[in-house]
């Protein structure tokens, strides 16, 4: 499958936007501008970017606690994201959700979720809605290797399979549930075998290679749109930060592991490829970097200058009219 040059450049820009957004969000945590915490997506950018590149209007995604990348890749407004993380009234959720609970229903983002595995049943419902609508739309659920040990994983995989729902299970195996390595937590150590047990087509791909991600997602999504039921993809990747920032839990992963994975940086690898293949020039790369930095700066300024919610705003939105 050939991906056209414009798309390749767009993939690069999206990955870089996610990287710079989360770097900046972490910095703002240190600066004291973020009341809560963030779970950085740094290191995993290729997964959200490559998967969401295959989505169209009307498709829906369900994200998780480490969700900024999914949201940006699906087209969320970084200004309203940053404002939400800052706890401001202009944020996506008017300051009621913070980093872990950002949603944008107008573009099919059914929300990030703070409970590991809890998005899987909700995604099953979004996929059932797409099936009942009968317009060839699909749902994608992003979750980590940790979620695969939750009961809801088994329930959702099974139900999606018996109902042949248009649902892509996008599993980001970043190797650790907080500090617990997946080879310990997962019996047999192989998630692909689990998908097969649910009678679901599946593949494991390098989650740090955006083209591999994009191609695997495309063939899965084409099949799903064709009404042939759900698909499970394992994306092997690695998170560069500890579980969340500011670090309240020590990062117990081997230090040398991070060094190895940094050499597989999805952005640097892709940048090298774009240059080697003559798809982009160094000045063009610099221009993208500059534009992305401007966008992030604008988001931070917007967040910083936005008003805080009034205390009594806490009482609104408990119920819908």
């Amino acid at each position: 499958m050939a991906i056209d040059n414009d798309t390749l450049v767009r993939l690069y820009r999206t990955m870089l936007t996610i990287r710079r957004f989360d770097e900046r969000a972490c910095q703002e945590v240190k600066n004291g501008a973020v009341p809560g915490l963030v779970h950085p997506y740094i290191g995993q950018e290729a997964v959200a970017t490559g998967v969401c590149a295959n989505l169209e209007e009307g498709d829906r995604i369900i994200s998780n606690h480490r969700g900024h990348g999914h949201l940006i890749a699906k087209g969320a407004d970084v200004r309203r994201m940053m404002a939400e993380i800052f706890g401001k009234k202009t944020g996506y959720c008017k300051g009621k959700g913070g980093s872990m609970h950002i949603a944008d229903f107008s573009i099919g983002i059914l929300g990030a979720n703070g409970i590991v595995g809890a998005g899987l049943p909700i995604a099953t419902g979004a996929a059932l809605a797409a099936k009942l609508d009968g317009k060839g739309k699909i749902a994608v659920v992003f979750f980590g290797d940790g979620a695969c040990q939750e009961g809801e994983f088994q329930e959702a995989m099974n139900l999606a399979s018996i109902w042949r729902l248009p649902l892509l299970f996008a599993c980001e195996n970043n190797m650790y549930g907080v500090n617990t390595v997946y080879t310990y937590a997962i019996a047999g150590g192989d998630l692909v075998k689990r998908a097969l047990a649910y009678d679901m087509p599946t593949i494991s791909v390098d989650g740090n290679d955006v083209i591999a991600v994009c191609e695997a997602a495309k063939s899965a999504i084409d099949r799903i749109r064709g009404g042939r039921g759900p698909y499970f993809i394992e994306f092997k990747t690695y998170r560069w930060s500890g579980h969340f920032v500011p670090p309240a839990i020590p990062d117990l992963r081997p230090k040398e592991e991070l060094e190895v994975w940094k050499k597989r940086c999805p952005i640097v690898r892709f940048e090298r490829k774009l240059l080697e293949d003559g798809i982009i020039t160094p000045p063009e790369l610099q221009k993208i970097e500059r534009q992305v930095m401007e966008l992030i700066e604008e988001a931070v300024t917007y967040a910083r200058e936005s008003p805080l919610p009034a205390p009594e705003d806490a009482l609104a939105d408990v119920y819908s009219a």
Binding site: C93, K96, F105, L132, E155
Partner: protein, 318 residues
Amino acid sequence: MKEIGYARAADEAVQEEFRRNSKLVYLATDTQPELRSEFGEDRVRVTPISESVFVGTAIGLAGSGYRAIADLRMATFGFVAMDQMVNQAAKITYMFGGQTHFPMLIRMSFGAGMHWAAQHSISPYSMYMNVPGLKIILPSTPYDIKGLLKTALRDNNPVISFEHTLLAPLSGEVPEEEYTVLFGRADIKKEGTDVTVVALSRMVHEALAVAEEVAKQGISVEVIDPRTLVPLDRETIGNSVSKTGRLVVVDEACQTCSAASEIISLIVENDNIFRRLKAPPKRVCGLDVPIPYSPPMERYVIPSRERISAAVRQVCHS
């Protein structure tokens, strides 16, 4: 008017709402054949025994332009779907800043009296009252269940309907024509002047029986059925207690942190009503033990007519 059973009235509500809303979907581990044949297996879906995922599916449908009924059958099975109800359904509208509605109905039967032992006899509605974002209905008659379920199926929030197992065969009058029962409107099931008895679900019928019995001793009981716990009709209850000066709350659930506790707190916290009280309010609740299996023990731990009657007489004579 026509005379139909409680379970039949609930079915009618679901059927009527299915006819008027093509976006309505039913999810349950077993579904009613009549509903399935009229509306098809796409909309009336049999699920595996996977409560978490089908409650979550209802949430995902709600966030995608549909409305689902997740029928858990029994309240006891709700506990395995607790995260989806408490952390997801209840909070999702709020966490996302009110961006969208999450209309859904969760149905559960509950209550003791069938000799089904501790797990299958629980009355857990007060746990859910402690979770903002959920609405809770507790219909006690065929008329109420039909009208309340129809309202629930037009409400834009997650609603949990608690339907007492022993009420299923109860018959009652239901209008031939279309009607609904609004949330937050208590029903004065019997007017009286000496004491207000607020009773929940099946206990409404026990309270009515006691009211008839103590009337012979000259005690006039007003029986109020709140019908919905969230929202709760404080005004009707408050007005009644202001009038009678006496309050007994009858609730089959365990006493500690019960709906009864909450209703009494609301009354005694109100200065105007508190000043009119002629006696301390009383709770008649389930004892704080799991529901036992054997009938003598089961009867002992749930409120009996004797206990209700004793409480009514006590507040009237103190």
